[in-house]
């Protein structure tokens, strides 16, 4: 499993000696090798944390340290056992113990963690440095999104703290976050991230179908297809590209006729005749062959807003219905409930666990009040409006 977090011991690992034994309330100078390793890890999308057996009051000192304070997320400093500390860290970050590396100069601590948490990779400092240098611990980051993962953990900590302090309702908090969803059509630069979403999303993925990179690249230039992308920002930071879809535009001139496709090329995939193409009144349907949304921003109704935007695009292009292929044997129940909530109902069976859902595009379409939806090409103008607002205030 990919390493997502390295948990550092402090005394003897990050710096020489035992900090609490210093007469002055100062932290020892860190080992340059340790600092360099932390930087290298961050650049590869791995977060650094701490499990140190020491006086809890050291936490304040560490947080205030200009060189180290900002490096660690959810640091654990206590007299308690390190396996417990590591479990608190993985719980806070929402990652698996098997995505965690523990580094400690003390063989006793290493042995204890190795015995109690066999999934955690346990290394001495020199072993960590050697594996980092050899590139065997973490590969170079695949995408800009991966490189930004460390910042995201920090932004998420700030967001959670703000929500806990917020006194109003959940909806009021969401409105106060100033969320802006920038929507547009995918370009070649978005392809690696779209590929990443097809592999990494589960909760909010309609079919789990894997599309080869060359097929995806072909779709963004194909006029019969629409590949929307949505990026989310709020006042805490940037979630990046969090939702995308592969949409077949119906052909208004030939209702009932949809673009050839499927992940493996023409002819593959579920039965394409079932319900697709014709809206029944000579108008075409648009069909979501795949819809994905990252759970990074779960609980914010991002998929609802993205689906509503696709509905508006389809309606503006003259489509009568929006259809969506789903598989019912995946861990996507929340998304299937969400589709009901946004007005989709059953249209046809397409396979053993395959269904086609759909909804009419006439009448009212869903609106998410706390998400401001801004078309990509108007982002610059939007920034200007925000700037003017600030001047007025």
């Amino acid at each position: 499993m990919t390493v997502k977090c390295v948990v550092w011991d402090l005394d003897g690992t990050v710096w020489p000696g035992v900090a609490i034994e210093n007469a002055t309330r100062e932290l020892p100078e860190p080992f340059p090798r340790a600092l360099a390793a932390m930087t290298a890890l961050e650049e590869r999308g791995v977060v650094n944390s701490v499990a140190s057996r020491t006086d809890p009051s050291m936490a304040e000192l560490l947080a205030a340290d200009p060189g180290l304070g900002k490096r660690f997320v959810v640091p654990q400093l206590s007299w308690g056992d390190k396996d417990r500390a590591i479990l608190r860290i993985v719980d806070e970050l929402g990652i698996s113990p098997s995505a965690t590396v523990f580094v400690d100069d003390n063989p006793f601590e290493r042995a204890q963690v190795a015995a109690l948490l066999p999934e955690v990779r346990v290394l001495a400092p020199d072993e960590l440095y050697a594996q980092l240098d050899a590139g065997t611990l973490v590969p170079a980051p695949a995408t800009e999104e991966a490189r930004r993962r460390v910042d995201r953990y920090r932004e998420e900590q700030a967001r959670r703290a703000a929500e806990q302090e917020f006194t109003g309702s959940r909806e009021e908090f969401l409105r106060a976050c100033g969320m802006v969803l920038t929507v547009g059509t995918a370009g070649p630069g978005d392809l690696p991230r779209i590929g990443e979403l097809t592999e990494r999303t589960h909760r909010f993925n309609t079919t789990g179908e894997q599309w080869p990179a060359d097929r995806l690249a072909g779709l963004i230039d194909d006029p019969r297809w629409f590949v929307p992308v949505a990026r989310l920002t709020d006042r805490f930071g940037d979630y990046g590209l969090i939702s995308t879809a592969l949409v077949e535009r119906g052909d208004p001139a030939r209702p009932g006729n949809v673009a050839p496709g499927g992940p493996e090329g023409a002819g593959a995939g579920p039965d394409r005749a079932a319900g697709a193409g014709s809206g029944g009144n000579g108008r075409s349907d648009w069909r979501l062959r795949l819809f994905m949304s990252s759970c990074r921003a779960a609980g914010r109704d991002v998929p609802v807003a993205v689906l509503a935007w696709i509905m508006r695009e389809a309606r503006a292009a003259g489509a009568a219905r929006l259809l969506v292929d789903i598989r019912t044997d995946l861990a996507n129940l929340e998304l299937r409930v969400l589709l009901r909530r946004t007005g989709f109902g059953r249209v046809a069976v397409t396979g053993e666990h395959g269904l086609l859902l759909g909804r009419e595009l006439a009448g009212e379409l869903p609106v998410v009040p706390h998400l401001q939806v801004v078309p990509q090409d108007r982002v610059v103008a939007q920034d200007r409006v925000v700037a003017q607002d600030r001047v007025v205030q």
Binding site: E334, R336, H353
Partner: protein
């Protein structure tokens, strides 16, 4: 109101973190995704897990019965019939 509907209302109050007395007093036709209850997809998924645990009815199986996620009454009707 029978035991199925009473318990579904109690589960709804729990997954939505709402006052159980208030949810118990709503009309059976109250829409689950409407403004009064505003059932989120996550709360909806939890509700269905609760229904399966309590009544042994998998509303989400093959997606067929998700159509019953319309109002308190339609969900209760489906569960009552499926539970036999």
């Amino acid at each position: 109101m029978d035991v199925v509907e009473t318990e579904i209302r109690a589960m709804l109050a729990r997954v939505l973190d709402r006052d159980p007395a208030l949810v118990a007093g709503l009309p059976a036709g109250t829409e689950l995704f409407g403004p009064e209850l505003n059932l989120t997809s996550l709360a909806g998924a939890r509700l269905l897990a609760g229904v399966q645990e309590r009544f042994g009815v998998d509303v989400a199986a093959e997606d067929w019965a998700l159509e019953s996620l319309t109002s308190i009454g339609t969900l209760a009707d489906f569960v009552r019939r499926a539970a036999g």
